[in-house]
């Protein structure tokens, strides 16, 4: 426990006052509170806020609290400790969203990496109509309209929302690994290539000598 003894004979220092104010503000917020906002309200620097919050999160963990102070979507929030999942599940939770379908996840994945992107572009990548899935994702607050294509047609362009980051539990999109790291491995690419290979390819290779390789 990191507490000052009840009968403590020293005043809370400045850091402690800041910590208490942060605890109070984050507790009453219903969304992650940005470091910048905390810094502005408490009139200290952003690094100081991050330092105190980092220490606070460690304190909670060390004293075995049933909750955590988490950094998500650019801010701080309280959340239940993952190891208390079983108890939380017993407690009826409103709005605990149903799992996304495979189609929903893939569509979300495409928008996350290709944003801003139009519905037609997502559809072209997936090879199916995605209108319904996109609408679902928008209703669930994962996708938002972020603008319009300047070209003809002025298609609506979509991006992922703050809410998406919150549900994903990451601080920002930059925390996602680069797209290249998700490319199928060379073995899979070979398999796909062989699946489409015709015997005439060999002839062509021989003939063209330096044709484009796949």
């Amino acid at each position: 426990m990191t507490e000052v003894p009840p009968s403590g004979d020293e005043l809370l220092d400045d850091g402690d006052e800041l910590r208490r104010a942060i605890e109070a503000i984050v507790l009453v917020s219903d969304e992650p509170v940005p470091s910048e906002l905390l810094a502005q309200l408490l009139e200290v620097s952003v690094p100081r806020i991050d330092e105190i919050c980092g220490q606070l999160a460690l304190d909670y963990e060390a004293s075995g609290r049933g909750f955590q102070l988490a950094r998500v979507a650019g801010g701080y929030r309280y959340q239940s400790h993952p190891d208390q999942e079983q108890w939380i599940e017993r407690y009826v939770l409103e709005g605990r969203s149903a799992k996304l379908s495979a189609a929903g996840l893939e569509t979300l994945a495409i928008v996350a990496y290709k944003q801003p992107i139009s519905r037609a572009q997502v559809s072209a990548i997936r090879g199916v109509n995605v209108d319904g899935v996109m609408r679902t994702l928008q209703n669930r607050g994962y996708l938002i309209e972020v603008g319009r294509d300047p070209g003809p047609g002025q298609a609506v362009l979509y991006g992922t929302s703050q809410r998406f980051l919150e549900e994903l539990g990451v601080d920002s999109l930059d925390d996602l690994p680069p797209l290249a790291s998700f490319m199928p491995d060379s073995e899979t690419v070979d398999t796909l290539e062989r699946g489409l290979r015709t015997s005439i390819d060999a002839d062509l290779d021989a003939e063209a000598g330096d044709g484009p390789t796949s």
């Binding site: 988490a70 999942e85 109509n129 899979t188 489409l196 015709t198 796949s214």
Partner: protein, 266 residues
């Protein structure tokens, strides 16, 4: 030889092709264009014959890919001895590469989707506090609905009426699944002898409740296991027909079936 298509839960033509190729390699340790094309065409056939049919937009995409595949397969079977259609071959080759590029892109995002899912799952183990301000502080703010639009209100309503997870604590007392399966069994065993046969869709026509549909499905499986019904499905996406085999209606049948249902008791 047939690629295993009973596992197909695919999303559109590209996804189907991806699965067929990767699945075939798993099954046969090698891929064969011919069998992939066959499986692909067979699936399109079944989709067209299925009761929902294919909508035009989806069908077009299926057929475009199918056309490319058939062309590729034909070339393989009938290599041009003259070699004088090089232009056309190059065109085909480009089509092939385009298809390959699309498959790779599709697979890439499937991999991303897996990561997104695991992140969502991990994050889902924690639940954020969303209680917000208590009433003391609501009094000092003038624009409580600031930033809230009509759509937010409609979404909030949808959220509020969304079926809530059943609190697990109640399961200790009522074991609802067991009760419902028995109940569904009893009802099926009483009505099916009169109906003779019915589709699963008809048997669930009176409910929208997913749990209820699952429960009735379990009940049908139970009857099937007991040899009291026959299940028949004309095509993969077709209707499931449940036909009664158990003879005339009698209380004995019902009791027998209900006795079988006890196995669901956990």
């Amino acid at each position: 030889m047939p690629v295993d298509v009973s596992t197909e839960v695919f999303e559109g033509p590209l996804d189907l092709l991806l699965q067929l190729i990767l699945q075939e390699e798993v099954d046969l340790y090698e891929v064969s264009l011919a069998s992939i094309v066959d499986a692909y065409l067979a699936t399109i056939d079944r989709l067209i014959e299925s009761e929902d049919g294919l909508d035009l937009e989806v069908a077009t995409e299926f057929l475009l890919i199918a056309a490319t595949l058939v062309e590729l397969k034909t070339r393989r079977l009938l290599p041009d001895p003259e070699g004088d259609e090089l232009d056309e071959s190059i065109w085909l080759w480009e089509e092939r590469d385009l298809l390959l590029a699309r498959l790779i892109e599709c697979k890439t995002f499937k991999n991303v989707a897996e990561r997104v899912e695991s992140l969502l799952t991990a994050a889902g183990r924690s639940v954020p506090r969303r209680a917000g301000l208590d009433e003391r502080f609501l009094a000092i703010t003038p624009d409580l609905l600031g930033g809230v639009g009509p759509d937010d209100l409609a979404r909030a309503f949808a959220r509020a009426v969304r079926p809530k997870p059943v609190p697990e604590v109640s399961l200790h007392h009522v074991t609802p699944i067991t009760a419902s399966v028995s109940e569904a069994l009893g009802r099926l065993a009483r009505t099916l002898p009169y109906l003779g046969a019915a589709t699963f869709r008809e048997l669930t026509a009176d409910t929208d409740d997913r749990i209820e549909v699952v429960v009735r499905f379990l009940a049908v499986l139970e009857l099937y296991k007991e040899g009291l019904v026959e299940l028949d499905q004309a095509s993969t996406f077709g209707e499931l027909t449940v036909s009664w085999l158990g003879g005339g209606h009698s209380e004995v049948d019902v009791d027998l079936v209900l006795a079988g249902a006890d196995r669901y008791d956990g």
